[in-house]
Amino acid sequence: MIEINVTKTLHGAEGVMPLHVKLNIQEGEFVALSGQSGSGKTTLLRILAGLEEAMGSIKVHKQVWLDAQYSLSVQKREIGFVFQDYALFENMTVEENLLFVTKDKPLAQHLLQITELDALKKRTPNSLSGGQKQRVSICRALMKRPKILLLDEPLSALDPAMRTKLQNELLSLHKEFGTTTIMVSHDPSEIYCLASRVIILQNGEVKNDGTPKEVLLKTQGSQKFSFEGELLDIKKVDVIYVAIVAIGQQLVEIVVSSQEAKNLKIGENVRLSTKAFAPAMTQI
């Protein structure tokens, strides 16, 4: 069990904001941390890693990492940290990057094989693609066999195909190494595929905590098929109205009656919803 109860004053773009997070995380859990930028997600990871000071306490499997009198040093915290921008040593080869953490050659070899980097182990990071670099930094984070793996938007700079591939690798590494993994992510599909629990931070506090389905499924009353969009236009056709709504990168049309149209204003944000029984689904 990881018991976190930390407080820190953040100086963000919108002034001073208190970060206060109280959480218990079970050993082996895969937790996604989500929320708007500036809500304190990265700071929380850095506090766990010991890279930032904070008030309060952190206990990991009954061992005190932080309390009022004591703070375990960064080196002694059994943590692996993966950053969005890889943070590799550019002057070392892939293999040297891993062995810099611990001189455990068999483990380095095993990790490089799982992640299909074996053939690239004598290359330096600047000759690798984004996906390959991030694989190296994930492998490096696991070289210490960490109790906690912290991932700060590790896949957000990668293209969708590479993201899916690395998601699968992350999940199998998480299982093989039995780490407790905490990953900052904004991507609902990534959270749904990887995490067993999602925590939403807002203004430095836990706003929502539950399974991905409980937290991320947008519902409107009993309607499960629900999207937010912007009402772009509404046109009268015969005795009904057709509304044009922008959702993400797409436009959709919705038929509404005059009574429904009466309350709608162009430019407003609207929620489109229907029952889970209504939409048809086909392969692209």
């Binding site: 409107q220 009353g221 009993s222 309607q223 499960k224 015969d238 005795v239 009904i240 038929v255 009656s257 005059s258 009574q259 429904e260 229907t274 029952k275 889970a276 029984f277 209504a278």
Partner: protein, 131 residues
């Protein structure tokens, strides 16, 4: 959007699939739903809703229909368009809207003041909010 205030009468559940029945104006309504909010239980008052395009009309009907919701309503207004017609339907104190083709409206000779049956599939009925 047509809305009706109704009271939950019964909930049948298989895994996360539910058939919820409601009472309203001495009529029984039924709704198909996936997971229900916890506060929805027997006796809960809810606002039910249905798209006007999902409400069909039957007149002088004899026979069997699979529609789980068959509401006795009276037509209070008809807006006849070239292709489509919008009917206002009085159901107790509630007003429902139905959008049907003008061809159907003419074929059935629907008129204001007439008593008809509003037909709604249970998969088209949903809870808008818990009251």
């Amino acid at each position: 959007m047509s809305s009706i205030i109704a009271t939950v009468h019964n909930i049948q559940t298989v895994q996360n699939l539910n058939i919820v029945s409601f009472t309203c104006n001495e009529s029984l309504l039924k709704m198909m739903s996936l997971d229900l909010e916890e506060q929805i239980q027997k006796g809960t008052k809810v606002l039910l809703t249905c798209k006007p395009t999902a409400i069909a009309i039957a007149k002088n009907f004899q026979g069997q229909l699979s529609y789980a919701n068959q509401l006795h309503v009276s037509i209070t207004n008809i807006n006849v368009g070239e292709l489509l017609s919008v009917l206002k339907l009085q159901f107790g104190e509630f007003v429902l809207e139905s959008v049907i083709t003008t061809d159907s409206q003419k074929r059935m000779q629907l008129q204001c003041g007439e008593e008809v049956i509003a037909l709604i599939k249970s998969s088209d009925l949903s809870i808008k909010e818990v009251l």
